[in-house]
């Protein structure tokens, strides 16, 4: 049993970088149960470009209004083909549940006449348990 558990852990750890590295942000959907006044989500933004890019993480509500969440880190440089974890802690604000969008944003080629900002947003639902 212990051996099987070790095998499962090894498989999970081995799969994590592959899953994270192949996407611009993962996961893009999630539901979280929390027994506190906030819920936490860990996302993995990834840089699919062959160059270093500046990445910003923002949290919005369903109407795309900013949510006062703690994001660690919220702005960072990400190397080519790299991925890194970002921890987002969202307060319930007195509600029993909260739907938020966690978005990875970047402008890969700044200082051009018409810039394109790529935004990948995941939808997450936090449930407050008592």
């Amino acid at each position: 049993m212990k051996h099987a558990l070790n095998l499962a852990m090894a498989a999970a750890i081995g799969l994590m970088p592959i899953a994270a590295g192949a996407q611009s942000m993962s996961p893009m959907r999630g539901e979280v149960n929390s027994f506190t006044d906030a819920f936490a989500v860990r996302v993995f933004p990834a840089n699919p470009y062959d160059q270093k890019i500046r990445v910003e993480i923002h949290v919005y509500d369903q109407d795309f209004q900013p949510v006062d969440a703690k994001i660690s880190p919220s702005v960072f440089q990400l190397g080519s083909q790299a991925s890194r974890p970002v921890l987002v802690v969202v307060p319930f604000g007195g509600a029993d549940g909260r739907k938020v969008r966690i978005c990875t944003e970047s402008i890969p080629f700044p200082n051009q006449q018409t810039q394109i900002k790529a935004q990948i947003c995941g939808k997450f639902f936090g449930h407050r348990k008592s």
Partner: protein
């Protein structure tokens, strides 16, 4: 006697290598989960040019070009553009401009040019073209100088 022992040992060894033991197999199970994902890779930014009457500054005009991005998704996501909020205009331009971002896509999904959200239900890859048009009404005209605008292309 030694010969007998050797022969007996060899016979025992051959007996141990029976067909049943040779044919034993064990399945190794592989599991994998692919969740809804979307990757946007911006390839080129766009270029806007002015119309002869100077009331349009657009990537659709002659000499203008769309921005492009490649999209790869598992499906179960939607693609959209945001209203333009980040613009830089020359000081000589003091009149209002209406900015209209649109996009189209070709590849797995065929999306005619639109400014609305489009659901991408099936997995695949697409080339997304992003256009931006600025217009002025009445007697207003675009002025000499550099204009810059940012279009947000969203996959969620």
């Amino acid at each position: 006697m030694p010969l007998f022992r050797t022969a007996f040992g060899a016979a025992l060894l051959v007996a141990c290598l029976d067909d049943a033991a040779m044919a034993t197999t064990q399945n190794v199970i592989f599991n994998g989960t692919v969740t809804a994902t979307c990757t946007l890779v911006v390839a080129t930014n766009g270029t806007m040019t002015a119309s002869p009457d100077l009331q349009s500054l657009s990537s659709h005009n002659s000499g203008g070009s769309a921005g492009t991005a490649t999209l790869t998704t598992t499906g179960g996501v939607s693609l959209s553009v945001d209203p333009v909020t980040l613009t830089t205009v020359p000081a000589a331009d003091s009149t209002a401009t209406t900015w209209t971002p649109t996009y189209s896509a070709s590849g797995t999904h065929t999306i005619a040019e639109t400014g609305a959200s489009t659901a991408l239900t099936v997995p695949g890859a697409d080339l997304v073209s992003v256009h931006l048009a600025g217009t002025k009404g009445g007697s207003n005209r675009f002025a000499t100088g550099n204009y810059q605008a940012t279009v947000t292309l969203r996959c969620e």
